[in-house]
């Protein structure tokens, strides 16, 4: 009896519609400059330490990892 109930529950769960994707999931294509083969944006951004405008292009000549995040 317990097995039948468990199977029924599993069947009911399987019939559930897929959980909708959160609205913030990456469902937009990445903007130009972030896709393989494209030049990364060269726009100068202020340093978080002293405000000096710095472009990722200033790191040219060496492989670079750009880690874009927010602390929240």
């Amino acid at each position: 009896m317990k097995l039948a109930a468990a199977l029924a529950l599993l069947a009911a769960l399987a019939a559930q519609p897929a959980k909708p994707k959160p609205i913030w999931a990456r469902n937009n294509p990445l903007p130009t400059g972030f896709n393989p083969g494209e030049a990364f944006p060269t726009i100068a951004l202020p340093s978080a330490v002293d405000g000096r405008p710095t472009s990722v292009a200033e790191f040219r000549g060496k492989k670079l990892i750009v880690n874009i995040f927010a602390s929240w």
Binding site: W24, F40, S71
Partner: protein
């Protein structure tokens, strides 16, 4: 992030790869504190205005020595190191390389100049979501600067909300609105980590990166237990006998988020207290902390009539203090809802001057959408 950092560190030390962090925080010094806590010493660039035009974070991009994107996530797995997949790879030099884009942002020497330029962008095209977001972020940045105007915070919220209305799929924009908005049904721990980070850094004997703007209560999942413990249960000055401060010592402004809610909505009210530099006023932290008491009209609900802003650790201090709290309007609300209240605080005049206990009356007015 610590896993990536460990994987990349040997290549960084060998000079074969550089790592740079780009942070999407409105207050980028919080990201610096986060990296200090995690013992990560990458250079940090601030993209508070979302000039990179990204819809979400995090994103890790591997860029070759010519500035060309090779991967949009770290190319490492259980069987291959990032050295094999990326760092030791040879890539062709492109025929030409794009120059550094100095843009027009570098020409702004004040936030007011940036706001004027972004206002023109928005006037040209009110449906330009990125322009609306940048304008909102510039208003908030000015609010936190010496250039501040009391309406800047409300203007920031207005433009952020408009940006999100134009494109609701922008996660970064959505989080910026929520960061200062009413406490969410499922509270989000925006900056709860800051308390842990400061404790751990102190235990390590390090001085935490100072923050220009301390997170407000809306930016934490859990309210500050120190403030809750000190909140009085009964009205502290029911007969209005405490001498008034009309702003000679402490300037006060209040901002509701959203600025114009619907009837029945919950609104986050932010109240900011700034010592008046003209009278050299400063907080007296050897006495009780600042208490804000409000008397909501019938039908308007608040979690507590008293809100406390804890003292700083030093005996006297000059910092800006903020409190924020949720107000739920009745479904019948119309016109303007006014919530009278007052703050009580200990303040000192001038260096080695007289210290006083003062009351500052504050009326928060919330216009309700028609």
């Amino acid at each position: 992030m610590p896993v990536w950092h460990a994987a990349l560190e040997p290549f960084e030390k060998a000079g074969k790869v550089a790592v740079v962090a780009v942070v999407q925080d409105q207050h980028p010094d919080r990201a610096r504190l986060f990296l200090q806590w995690k013992r990560v010493g990458w250079p940090v660039l601030a993209d508070s205005l979302d000039l990179l035009n990204l819809d979400t974070v995090p994103l890790t991009v591997a860029v070759d020595e010519y500035g060309i994107v090779r991967f949009t996530e770290l190319p490492m797995s259980a069987t291959k190191t990032i050295g094999e997949t990326f760092i030791d790879q040879t890539y062709p030099k492109p025929a030409s390389l794009p120059p550094i884009d100095r843009g027009r942002f570098e020409t702004f020497t004040t936030w007011t100049m940036a706001i004027e330029a972004f206002e023109r962008d928005v006037q040209r095209n009110p449906n330009d979501g990125p322009a609306q977001f940048r304008l909102g972020s510039a208003y908030r940045a000015r609010y936190d600067s010496r250039e501040r105007r009391t309406t800047d915070f409300a203007d920031a919220e207005r433009h952020w909300t408009r940006a999100l209305d134009i494109d609701p799929n922008r996660y970064i924009w959505r989080r910026r609105v929520q960061q200062y908005g009413p406490r969410m049904a499922e509270p989000y721990a925006f900056f709860d980590w800051i308390r842990d980070a400061r404790q751990e850094l102190a235990a390590r004997g390090e001085t935490p990166v100072p923050l220009a703007v301390e997170p407000g209560d809306s930016e934490f999942e859990k309210p500050d237990p120190r403030a809750l413990a000190k909140a009085p249960a009964a009205e502290p000055d029911p007969r209005g006998r405490i001498r008034r401060d009309a702003g000679e010592f402490i300037g006060i402004d209040a901002t509701a988020v959203p600025a114009v809610p619907n009837a029945g909505d919950t609104v986050r009210v932010h109240v900011t207290f700034r010592p008046n530099a003209a009278t050299k006023a400063h907080w007296n932290n050897t006495a009780e902390p600042l208490v804000y008491w409000m008397t909501p009209p019938s039908g308007v609900t608040v979690a507590s009539r008293a809100v406390v802003a804890p003292n700083a650790a030093a005996e006297v201090s000059l910092e800006t203090r903020t409190i924020d709290y949720d107000v739920t309007l009745p479904a019948s609300a119309a016109g303007r809802v006014t919530i009278p209240g007052y703050a009580l605080y200990y303040v000192c005049e001038d260096v080695n001057g007289v210290c006083m206990y003062r009351r500052h009356d504050v009326t928060v007015t919330i216009p309700v959408k028609h």
